[in-house]
Symmetry: C2
């Protein structure tokens, strides 16, 4: 079942775009693992928040991505620029436009 994952992470003031650059650096490996969508974005109402919406062929594919060396390295690089304030949820897609 297609799996969607959405979340936010709060950057240290002034570092939001650095975190975004890390997330967008190399996504080819994600696609190879079954990532269909990995959208990164911002909202002017929350200048320090980084937003992510992901879509995967399965929850297992999403979990496997967290073991990727490139993903683990990006997380390590990003952590010092993050406050530790994360929100997220994941769900099995049951239908809808683009499912």
């Amino acid at each position: 079942m297609t799996f969607a994952f959405s979340g936010t992470m709060r950057a240290q003031p002034g570092h939001r775009d650095d975190v975004i650059a890390l997330l967008l650096a190399d996504q080819s490996a994600l696609a190879e693992l079954g990532c269909l969508h990995y959208l990164v974005g911002t909202n002017d109402a929350e200048p320090d928040l980084v937003y992510v919406n992901e879509l995967w062929v399965s929850a297992e594919a999403h979990d496997a991505s967290l073991q990727l060396e490139s993903v683990r390295a990006a997380i390590q690089d990003a952590l010092p620029m993050l406050t530790g304030d994360f929100t997220n949820f994941g769900f099995e897609v049951v239908g809808g436009l683009g499912a």
Copy 2:
């Protein structure tokens, strides 16, 4: 700029799937308005929650959809089956796989 919108709504116990059916009933009008993705789903860890991830050609297209008669009717039909517990966030997509 592409606009992503994600959220959850809590159904009254036993009504989650009724709400999902309403959301999935007729999405053709959404596509015509610029909806690229309208994914609806569930998570066994939260049996009463309905999850939605949307992707629109713009925030304006998303806002316009809320004026659609079919969307307003679906919301009216769903409200009695919802507890009023909503979470959501929206963001401008700056990049990523599938952006």
